[in-house]
């Protein structure tokens, strides 16, 4: 009997790329449910646009690059990108906005760099920042906490695909700015944090509505840690980089600087710390590098939120730190055994 010759090790690998991607999606499920509960079915409508757009963009690029379609489409990375983008977009978004963000993410952010594993920048953030800079007005159409019951699935579909809200409703009337945005504007109007926070959109932890989505995102992040899809370094460093300056400045002047708890449960903090900054392809790969990378994202986010022109800055912080990854990896190589 002749046996085939295969290289060692012969043991089966413990995981696979599609399993990793699937688990990331599972970990986002609770947050997705809470999102729908708090803001209505808008995110589901956006997802219905984003998924086909992502797969189509991916398929066309794989074809153009003469890669195996089935192998490329089933790795699940395009789906994860699409889902992360719909989490970042406002629930009331025209279809073309969602589609554009996703296609830019997959085609320019990922495939043009060489596909899965070769992109320098986080694809979801490339797509998100593109539409944020190009269509700032559409990117502010956030709904009030609790959503608009009368908007309903039909209303969301009508807006997404028809560009019109049901009779008697206007975009300006149903949408409002996010909590971080309100804080920024009101601080500019010389009001104090204490005065601002009594408004109806603020909850105990952060912005009402978002705070519970963020809690469920954190739960999903812990699930990722448990499954060893991510390691602790990046989330801990992002949170430390954001919360330590937040705590220090809050201690100095509570009327001008938001509390670290508010920062933690508002905006993209937890989504960023657990799901976006941890994208392995565009993050640093060494333990020390990941700590620096995460801390940089946290600190830059705090800086942009507090002194910059945008209410939240996580996407910009991630992209800036992505660019520093090669140098971080090069200078944080661990000491080799016996050297």
């Amino acid at each position: 009997m002749v046996f085939p010759l295969n290289p060692a090790p012969h043991a089966k690998p413990v995981t696979a790329v599609p399993i990793v991607m699937r688990r990331v999606l599972y970990a986002l499920l609770p947050a997705f449910a809470v999102y729908c509960w708090n803001f209505g079915p808008g995110i589901a409508v956006n997802l219905m646009v984003a998924l086909p757009a992502a797969l189509l963009g991916e398929a066309l690029m794989l074809r153009a690059r003469a890669r195996d379609l089935r192998h490329g489409l089933t790795d699940g990375s395009a789906i994860v990108t699409a889902v992360l983008i719909v989490f970042a977009l406002p629930p009331l978004a025209p279809w073309w906005l969602t589609a554009l963000a996703v296609v830019v993410a997959v085609v320019i952010g990922k495939q043009l760099f060489g596909g899965l594993g070769a992109n320098v920048f986080n694809p979801a953030m490339v797509g998100y920042v593109t539409v944020l800079l190009s269509f700032p007005a559409e990117m502010t159409q956030w709904l009030p906490p609790g959503g608009h019951a009368e908007l309903g699935l039909v209303g969301h579909l009508a807006y997404a695909f028809g560009g019109r809200l049901p009779e008697g409703m206007s975009v300006d009337a149903v949408t409002q700015a996010t909590a971080l945005d309100v804080v920024k504007q009101e601080l500019a109007n010389m009001r104090t944090i204490e005065e601002i926070r009594v408004g109806p959109m603020f909850g105990d932890l952060g912005s009402r509505g978002w705070q519970w989505i963020n809690v469920s995102i954190a739960a999903g992040g812990l699930l990722l840690l448990h499954w060893r899809i991510i390691r602790w370094h990046i989330p801990v460093a992002v949170l430390a980089g954001l919360l330590i300056p937040a705590a220090l400045l809050h201690l100095i002047d509570t009327s001008r600087y938001l509390s670290p708890v508010f920062h933690l449960f508002s905006g993209a903090t937890l989504l960023g710390a657990f799901f976006i900054a941890t994208d392995p392809v565009s993050a640093a790969a060494t333990s020390k590098g990941r700590l620096i990378y995460g801390a940089g994202i946290g600190a830059l986010t705090y800086g942009i939120r507090t002194w910059g022109g945008y209410p939240d800055g996580l996407a910009f912080a991630v992209l800036l730190m992505n660019a520093s990854v090669p140098i971080l990896d090069r200078y944080t190589q661990p000491r080799i055994y016996g050297r």
Binding site: P7, A8, P9, P13, G117, R228, R231, A285, Q333, R339
Partner: protein, 511 residues
């Protein structure tokens, strides 16, 4: 006497793996009846092969020397059964890391096993040098897998403080050391005591993985009976590759073996429990190393078990002894499923380094054909016991960037295979690193040749310049001398002319 000491620290990286050891530890080890034909490789150990000193047709006794060591790191080879030499031929034989083609002595064994050849009267002399020579003559090599000649390891003239007796056996499937420790704990300790003496070491740490409960108990009892203060026992964590000597040193002593060096560089010698047993057996009976215990296991084998088999038995004989292969067997491996290598057939003899034969089924093995791109998740780096960055090594290896490969520590890769197991992209990392090591060595050899050629060229140019210089100098000198000659000739000439003129004039002039 402390029976168990705490481990110093956990080594970095490594993985908890499914052990698959229970497959072969259910029954006591059996004994293979001497097969009709033995095929004894002259390449039994890691150094130069031995030279066969028998001829076809010649009768050999059990224990008779049939291969003499030729060079350094050699070890003698003996007939493991009596019979008649059938042929001397070249065959594929296993070494620590691959199959090589080597000279083999093929012996047709006697149907009735005769008595062993009597040991020499003085097989175990009193002095250290004599004992080292005796160990070399007995053909004792490391039985853990690498088959380094034991005499060379113990006889190293550098100071040795600690002997680590390695009974960790971290690789999945392999259980031969486990069974040996259960069977002959006293002999193992006796062997270790002899090693301590020869290596002039002051203590011996017996390291056994925590999950080998029965081996731990038997060895602990034996250590207690042995009542030697130099011996301590440590139960180490069951994390592959805890049995690697570098990992053992890190765990037990908190030290690191220098890159490219050996444990002896920091005063440590690691010996496998099987080697200690073989040494004790030789000292007690005068019998050289003729057999070893081999694990025959895997779900492709009918009756997995440990087998005491004579060196030179064919793997096919061992498999037949264990009920043969079943129809599910799809891959035959020498060693465990992490570092062992595939065998093309079972028609290959076992050597002193053969610790395990595994027949795996299709469900047990990875599919080498599907691969995704590296997503830089870094799990490989987290699992690497050498603290390398496999994801960076892969990029450097793909781009054949040799300087980068050197800086990333390719040569420090111990090829344990942990990175492959955790890779979500199913990249054949270890296989690529093995290939890259060969490429790097070739590149370095080329670079050395190129450097040598460069130097030759520069030296030649230098020499030519110097020669040209010298020639010019010589010419100048000659010219100068000639010029000097010319001047003096002219002076002489003019003087002569003057004299002649004087003489000419003189008749006209009055004196």
């Amino acid at each position: 006497m402390p029976e168990r000491v705490k481990i110093h620290r956990k080594f970095t990286g490594g993985l908890p793996l499914r052990p698959y050891k229970a497959l072969s530890t259910g029954a006591a080890a059996s004994r293979l009846t001497i097969p009709k034909r033995l095929c004894i490789s002259m390449q039994q150990q890691s150094g130069a092969p031995a030279m066969a000193c028998v001829t076809p047709g010649e009768r050999v006794e059990r224990g008779q020397l049939i291969g003499v060591p030729t060079a350094t790191l050699g070890a003698a080879v003996h007939a493991s059964a009596c019979g008649r030499v059938h042929a001397l031929e070249q065959r594929p034989v296993p070494t620590g890391s691959r199959l090589v083609v080597a000279d083999c002595v093929v012996i047709d064994t006697d149907p009735e096993p005769g008595p062993a050849s009597a040991p020499g009267a003085d097989h175990w002399p009193g002095d250290r040098a004599g004992r080292l020579a005796a160990i070399r003559r007995a053909g004792i090599v490391g039985l853990g897998g690498a088959a380094f000649p034991t005499a060379d390891k113990l006889g190293c003239d550098r100071a040795c403080e600690t002997l680590i007796l390695n009974g960790a056996e971290c690789e999945p499937y392999i259980s031969c050391d486990d069974m040996l420790m259960r069977e002959t704990p006293d002999s193992i300790l006796a062997g270790a005591a002899i090693m301590l003496e020869i290596a002039c070491a002051s203590r011996c740490i017996v390291a056994i993985e925590r999950d080998k409960i029965r081996a731990l108990e038997t060895m602990a009892d034996a250590v207690r009976r042995f009542a030697d203060e130099r011996f301590t026992m440590v139960a180490i964590p069951t994390i592959y590759p805890a049995g690697g000597e570098r990992q053992l040193v890190e765990m037990l002593l908190g030290l690191e073996v220098p890159s490219g060096g050996h444990p002896i560089d920091i005063g440590v010698v690691c010996q496998n429990v099987g080697t200690a047993h073989a040494l004790a057996n030789f000292v007690a009976s005068g019998q050289p190393l003729l057999s070893r215990i081999v694990t025959v296991t895997g779900r492709g084998v009918e009756a997995p078990q440990n087998v005491h088999a004579p060196i030179g038995a064919l793997i096919g004989d061992l498999l037949a002894h264990c009920g043969g292969l079943n129809e599910r067997a799809s891959r035959l491996i020498l060693g465990g499923n992490m570092m062992g290598y595939s065998l093309p057939t079972a028609d290959i003899p076992i050597t002193k380094s053969t610790n395990c034969v595994v027949a795996l089924t299709a469900e047990d093995v990875r599919d080498d054909t599907t691969e995704w791109p590296c997503i830089r998740c870094g799990e490989c780096a987290a699992a690497c016991p050498a603290r390398l960055l496999p994801q960076e090594l892969l990029r450097a290896a793909t781009g054949r960037r040799f300087e980068r490969l050197t800086a990333l520590g390719l040569v420090d890769c111990i090829e344990c295979g942990c990175c492959d197991v955790v890779c979500p992209s199913h990249i054949l990392l270890t296989a690529r690193f093995r290939a890259a090591k060969i490429e790097l060595a070739e590149h370095r050899a080329h670079a050395r040749l190129a450097d040598a050629a460069d130097e030759r060229y520069l030296r030649r140019k230098d020499r030519q310049l110097r020669e040209a210089d010298a020639a010019r100098h010589e010419q100048d000198e000659l010219k100068a001398r000639l010029a000097g000659d010319e001047a003096s000739r002219r002076a002489a000439l003019s003087a002569a002319v003057e004299r002649a003129r004087g003489r000419k004039r003189s008749p006209d002039e009055p004196e």
